[in-house]
Amino acid sequence: MTGFIATRLLTMLPVLWGVSIVVFLLIHLIPGDALQLFLGTQVALTSAQMEELRRLFGLNKPLPLQYIDWIGQIARGDFGVSLRTSRPVLTDILARFPVSVELTFLALIVALAIALPVGVFSALRRGTASDAAVRVGGLIGLSIPNFWLATMLLLFLPGRVLPIASIGIYVRFFSHPIANLTVMVLPAFSLGVVLAAVIMRFVRSSLLEVLGQDYVRTARAKGLRERWVINRHALRNALIPVITVIGFQAGYLLGGTVVIEDVFALPGMGRLALNAIAQRDYPVVQGVVLIIALLFVLSNIVVDVLYAYVDPRVRYG
């Protein structure tokens, strides 16, 4: 198992290297003078001053050398300094990090809480009217833009139906769990519904496939109760591939946090990045994109390892 994890980590290294190049190039290939971009339009300098600054920032070096400088700094945890606040970028990102991670996890919990029971229900009643209703519901869930769902919930839910704080002041989970969850429930739900639809559809088809297998027939033939057959034989195997789907959808969740944080004014990494884009604060944008891509790659490794853990064929196959 340790060997498997090590192999997976090693194979991700070239991808991470590629990710760092893309993030570096995104900023450095912007048409126009990088320095002028960093200075903004208000600052007018003589060409001698510009030359001096270029030398100072290492911008007169060839691009590959600039990349090496940059990646060396990143490796030491130096993500540069915000052009607007002059604070270290990493400090700002780390302050926002828990919000986005919490939102991601809560959305995943919401998705699983909806998808697993409904998917199983639908598969076991295959071909009935309730199955059809669930399938249509799943497709609709898949089609609603999460930011619009968020908007609609804000508009029509709070105060009228449920006493939930709509846009509250964000409180850290560990300082006040109840207040934290009150603020996070709507964002997590908005983000989780699409994922619930995806997973639900997958649970349904996966369970249907497993129910047609010989060992399920054998389990029934030897007189096991249906409940036991489903829970102990079918579901256990049907849920294994669901882990992979969650891995694929981690990207949806992480990308979705950016939009949802914006709607609910949550102080997460996504909102930090959007504000930075609006202010042309490129080191911050770069830092957030790099960190979120890193999270995505790591979550995929975790999913692979989990998968190998529950399905030994992956490890030895």
Partner: protein
């Protein structure tokens, strides 16, 4: 009489099977209606999408404005109709870009294998290592907001899926006897790829195209919603939703209609994709 004849026919045509798949038909109907609305927007729209009526700011739905007006008194229905043009052009163009780029990468990768395959697929892995919406946001932030940058940003983001699917299909197809026979008969690489392999990997690509269109619509709306996509005053569903954020408490129709419009076309592409998958890929028919 007729019944016995159809019963012995070995296989119905694709069109005949398509019309018997309610999911696919429903999807095609929705997509068709949207395309028609986008093409005929100038004829259908009751008002100029950009003209402001100062006497009807945030007018509720009804009368001359079936879907109400926005904060500048612009007719929402007309803006939604014209917005369909922008949203559909951007989505279709970006998916065509992803299909052409990803398809080419996948076919070359799968056919030649070896180092070319390794290098191309690593590049795809890198694009795939970014959450789609985030990468699109980052590209827009760097490249600036113009229609073509939106198209490229969304196209790039959805390229790897097409590359992976077409590569896998080529790998499954190229060792089949008829492909080897074509090669043995002296057909060049180009001919084998275009005439023999491409038609046989088109089914999964068609399904992926339909599903990607739904994702492209959602991504374009999200970008415009965040102010990074289609720029005002050009109406797009996403930037209409963005505009509505400041007024939705008093004028909820400014938020309800654009979102419902997006959800409906996305549903259409999803239905069409699901239906096509059932029709074209018997392995996945459950």
């Amino acid at each position: 009489m007729n019944r016995s004849i159809t019963a012995v026919r070995p296989r119905r045509t694709f069109a005949a099977r398509f019309v018997r798949t309610p999911v696919a038909v429903a999807g095609a109907a929705i997509v068709g209606a949207y395309l028609l609305a986008a093409v005929t927007a100038p004829a259908l729209a009751p008002h100029d999408p950009l003209s402001m009526a100062s006497q009807a700011l945030l007018a509720p739905p009804g009368g001359p404005y079936p879907f109400g007006t926005d904060q500048f008194g612009r007719d929402q229905l007309s803006r939604l109709l014209y917005g369909a043009r922008v949203s559909l052009i951007v989505s279709v163009a970006s998916v065509v870009l992803a299909l052409a780029g990803g398809g080419a990468v996948g076919v070359v990768s799968g056919h030649y294998g070896g180092r070319i395959d390794g290098a191309l697929m690593r590049v795809m892995d890198v694009i795939f290592a970014f959450p789609a919406v985030l990468l699109a946001i980052a590209i827009m932030a760097a490249a600036g907001t113009a229609v073509w940058t939106v198209i490229v940003a969304i196209g790039v983001v959805y390229t790897p899926q097409f590359a992976r699917i077409s590569r896998a299909s080529v790998l499954a197809t190229r060792t089949l006897e008829y492909v080897e026979a074509a090669g043995a008969l002296g057909a060049g690489t180009r001919r084998v790829l275009l005439r023999h392999i491409l038609p046989n990997i088109s089914a999964p690509l068609i399904v992926q195209t339909s599903l990607s269109l739904s994702l492209a619509i959602l991504t374009e709306s999200a970008l415009s919603f965040l102010g990074l996509g289609t720029q005002p005053p050009t109406p797009s569903w996403g930037n209409m939703l963005a505009d509505s954020r400041r007024f939705m408490a008093t004028a909820p129709w400014t938020a309800v209609f654009p979102g419902a419009t997006i959800a409906m076309i996305v549903l259409g592409f999803n239905l069409l994709g699901d239906g096509l998958r059932d029709l074209l890929d018997p392995r996945l028919r459950i």
